[in-house]
């Protein structure tokens, strides 16, 4: 790998590394007094209305959800943390109220699959590209050239390359 490949690799790496924390950062909140509407909504945002169709609790307009938000306020006033409130709701109304299932039992599949998918596909991509490139490097003469129809696009590219050479 030459220094240019490294530079591009570093560019990719930086973006990947910079993006990684969003994968691993857990969201939790500690109770802050006094309990404001915003704090209640922040907790309710990651809970789903057990009755309505896929609507977060903080924006669900039904009376039942208003009562559940009042319940969240009560719990926050008692000093409960976000995760305690989440557990309480999950216990009362089922795991369905959580915006993401808790990491246990069968639910682990949901946590494991995305990294497995990403790593597998990137590996496949690198492998396929490596094999295709190696095939070219081993026998460059014996491999037919890819069809290149002389389109305006190709001509433009040639034009640009020539310009650079000048």
């Amino acid at each position: 790998m030459n220094k240019h490949s490294k530079l591009i690799g570093i560019l990719f790496g930086l973006v990947l590394i910079a993006c990684l924390p969003s994968v691993v950062l857990a969201q939790d909140a500690t109770p802050i007094s006094p309990v404001t509407d915003d704090l209640v909504n922040a907790v309710a945002h990651d809970l789903y209305c057990p009755v309505c169709e896929n609507i977060p609790l903080d924006v669900c307009p039904t009376q039942a959800c208003a009562q559940w938000r009042a319940l969240i306020r009560e719990k926050l006033e008692l000093g409960w943390s976000t995760s305690q409130i989440n557990d309480f709701f999950a216990e009362q109304y089922g795991e369905k109220v959580l915006s993401v299932p808790s990491a246990r039992g069968f639910n682990w599949a949901l946590y494991i699959l995305p990294p497995v998918i990403i790593i597998s596909l990137i590996s496949i991509g690198v492998l396929v590209a490596y094999l295709l490139v190696r095939r070219f490097k081993q026998k460059p003469g014996s491999i037919p050239q890819a069809p290149t129809s002389v389109t305006t696009e190709v001509l433009d590219e040639i034009e640009q390359d020539l310009q650079k050479e000048r």
Partner: protein, 679 residues
């Protein structure tokens, strides 16, 4: 009478579709021109027949024939005309009929336009499109018939059936339930048809791919012949997704545009694989590479279209967008299984003959980078599929109902979208064939350096979130690379042809609409990305209860609650409207009026946000609650959504870019005319 005509036309359409399939298979096997002509005529006849059925349903909707279950469920007397049109696809039965009509329309156009050119593939194209249509026609006729009527049985029960059975009386309601209040938005008039156009549009490339596999054609003719179909389908699908987002933003009243809802994702998945296909087909056209992959992608895209339709209509998923639970789930499941397995078997059968002898010369060649682009799209698709199917499998295996919400998708797909943006910044500077890292570096460093001004400017303006700054840099990179490459090409062309830059720009774009249309699409995507970054990273919200004339300061704005008006019985609803004056410093910026509508017939509340939208930000206010008698005032939820308008602007740019890419190059048009004239 109208329903009898409609049913008659439907039955004839079904029989003719079967005829088209059978004669199509025979024509393909024995090569008889007469049989093929019969198949073609049958396939062509379905479209006018279904148009007749559609007109019949529209007449019933417009004339308020509430004895028909579908008319009763989707319209009411006072509904405006445009909503009565929207009622056509506002319910399960009508939307399935509309699906059939669009599908038959696409088949009709394909048969008329491409008959002579692709005659050898046509028998199988007819078979595949008509087989798909047959499935949907069976659903319409036997499972979800929009012409069912209400009957009252002897014991007073109301039943819905096509014909009276035994001792029943035809019901005669004076009014209907009306369209679901959430769907009473102008966006709903165009969002579903646009999405369906995208869905059904992919049938034609799929049919060509299957026809090519059956015929054993290993060239890229099917890709070239359906390039515009694919682009058109992708354009409509993109427009449908954006319109759906806009509808959610305007109507659902939760401050956002995309909730990672299962039905939203069901429409996103074919878009992801379709986008991968649009990139990948270039590798086959330009370099003869990845023939298997392209066929696999188009099969996948088509199956995802059907899967999305199945998930939305089967009742398997809970969603604000889903239709009510229906008995058509198992039928859909069988159809998807048949299509997927049969397509896969065909692909495996032709696997060896689809091999490519052409190499990828470098990791950094355009084809090498396209490979990674494709894998990223597929990775995002697989993660979305995992999220959508996980609740179903969880209930199946553990009996536990779970929700997979936005945090899962944001965390899992966010980095991949970031990488896609990075690739979008790099790929335009790579070349087909041999392209080295050295060359790529020498090309990219200038725009890369310039692009750093974007995050720097953001930091100077107060951005302190690393994720947001990174996103803004990626947006800047794509914009700089695209403009840099465009400007350089224009410069070279202007110098070589001794013409002003605007002439060179025009000539370059019109001579290679595909390439520069693609650039415009990329610009559209990054502008959309800017809007998404704005709302995802910098959105802020607060909730406040305000008494009349009380003010609140939020996100640099001063908001004063002026009062509330409640109007009774406006188009069948009670409309409560709050008035909030907005100012910034000493400048009065106008009044925002969030609404809260209660629909009497449907007994449903709809929260319509009040909006002040600028290029910089949106002020989005929801009326949560109010005290009509006491002086306690009203409760508001206020969102500050920076940059969101760029999402809508970007989508328009994307559509323009797609139109530019679809428009025939003048040289090719001339060539086609010459061929036609026998020159």
């Amino acid at each position: 009478m109208i329903s009898i005509i409609a049913l008659g036309l439907l039955v004839i359409a079904l029989v003719i579709t079967v005829n088209a399939i059978v004669t199509g298979v025979f024509a393909a096997r024995n090569g008889s021109a007469l049989t093929l002509e019969s198949s073609r005529r049958a396939a062509l006849a379905v479209f006018p027949l279904l148009t007749g059925v559609l007109v019949c349903l529209l007449i019933l909707l417009f004339t308020g024939r509430f004895e028909y279950a579908y008319v009763y469920q989707t319209t009411e007397v006072d509904m405006p005309f445009y909503l009565k049109v929207a009622a056509l696809w506002g319910g399960q039965e009508g939307s399935l009929l509309f699906w059939c009509w669009l599908l038959s329309g696409f088949s009709f156009i394909a048969l008329v336009r491409q008959w002579k050119r692709d005659r050898d593939l046509m028998p199988w194209v007819i078979v595949v499109t008509m087989f798909t249509l047959l499935f949907f026609l069976v659903l319409v006729l036997f499972f979800e018939n929009p012409f069912n009527r209400y009957y009252i049985t002897m014991d007073g029960q109301v039943m819905s059936a096509l014909f009276s059975t035994g001792f029943t009386l035809l019901a005669d309601p004076s009014n209907g339930m009306g369209l679901n209040p959430l769907l009473r938005h102008f966006g709903m008039v165009i969002h579903p048809p646009t999405l369906y156009l995208g869905f059904t549009g992919f049938v034609i490339p799929f049919a060509y791919a299957i026809a090519s596999l059956i015929k054993g054609r290993t060239d890229d003719h099917w890709i070239r012949a359906t390039r515009k179909w694919s682009l058109a389908a992708w354009l409509f699908l993109s427009a449908g997704l954006v319109l759906g987002s806009r509808w959610a933003y305007d109507v659902l009243g939760w401050g956002g545009y995309w909730g990672w809802d299962a039905v939203e994702i069901s429409a996103l998945m074919p878009w992801l694989t379709g986008t991968a296909y649009l990139h990948s087909m270039m590798m086959q056209e330009k370099r003869g590479l990845f023939k298997h992959w392209n066929i696999a992608l188009i099969i996948l895209t088509f199956c995802l279209v059907i899967l999305g339709t199945f998930l939305t209509r089967s009742g398997l998923l809970s969603s604000v967008h889903a239709f009510s639970e229906s008995a058509i789930g198992p039928a859909f499941f069988v159809f998807i299984t048949i299509v997927f397995i049969a397509s896969l078997v065909l692909l495996i059968w032709r696997w060896s003959s689809l091999g490519s002898a052409y190499p990828v010369k470098s990791f950094f060649s355009r084809e090498g980078l396209f490979l990674f682009n494709n894998l990223l799209f597929v990775a995002i698709f697989l993660i979305c599929l995992t999220g959508v199917l996980f609740p179903i499998f969880s209930e199946l295996f553990t009996g536990q109902q779970v929700t997979v919400g936005p945090p899962f998708y944001r965390r899992s797909t966010g980095p991949l979208f970031g990488l896609l943006f990075l690739l979008m910044g790099i790929v335009p500077l790579s070349a087909w064939g041999t392209s080295t890292a050295k060359r790529l570096n020498s090309e990219i460093w200038k725009p890369a350096v310039v692009s750093l001004t974007f995050p720097l400017a953001a930091i100077l303006l107060g951005v302190r979130q690393w994720g947001g700054a990174l996103g803004i840099w990626l947006v800047g990179l794509v914009i700089c690379v695209t403009l840099f490459d465009y400007a350089r090409s224009v410069g070279v062309s202007a110098r070589n042809n001794h013409e002003p830059w605007w002439k060179a720009f025009n000539r370059l774009t019109s001579r290679n609409r595909r390439r520069y249309g693609g650039y415009i699409i990329h610009l559209g995507i990054v502008l959309m990305g800017l809007g998404i970054i704005g709302i995802e990273f910098f959105q802020s919200e607060t909730q406040a209860t305000l008494a009349p004339e009380q003010s609140i300061d939020f996100a640099g704005y001063n908001l004063t609650y002026k009062g509330l008006s409640v109007q009774d019985n406006v188009e069948g609803r009670e409309a409560a409207r709050a008035y909030i004056d907005v100012s910034k410093g000493s400048r009065n910026l106008g009044t925002i009026t969030p609404r809260h509508d209660f629909y009497y017939t449907a007994e449903q509340t709809v929260t319509l946000p009040g909006l002040r939208s600028t290029l910089k930000d949106d002020l989005y206010i929801i009326l949560v609650d109010w005290m009509p008698i006491s002086s306690d005032g009203a409760t508001f939820k206020i969102f500050h959504n920076p940059l969101i308008k760029w999402l809508w602007i970007g989508s328009i740019v994307l559509m323009l870019g797609t139109l530019v890419a679809m428009w025939p190059d003048p040289e090719r048009k001339t060539a086609a005319l010459e061929v036609k004239a026998g020159v």
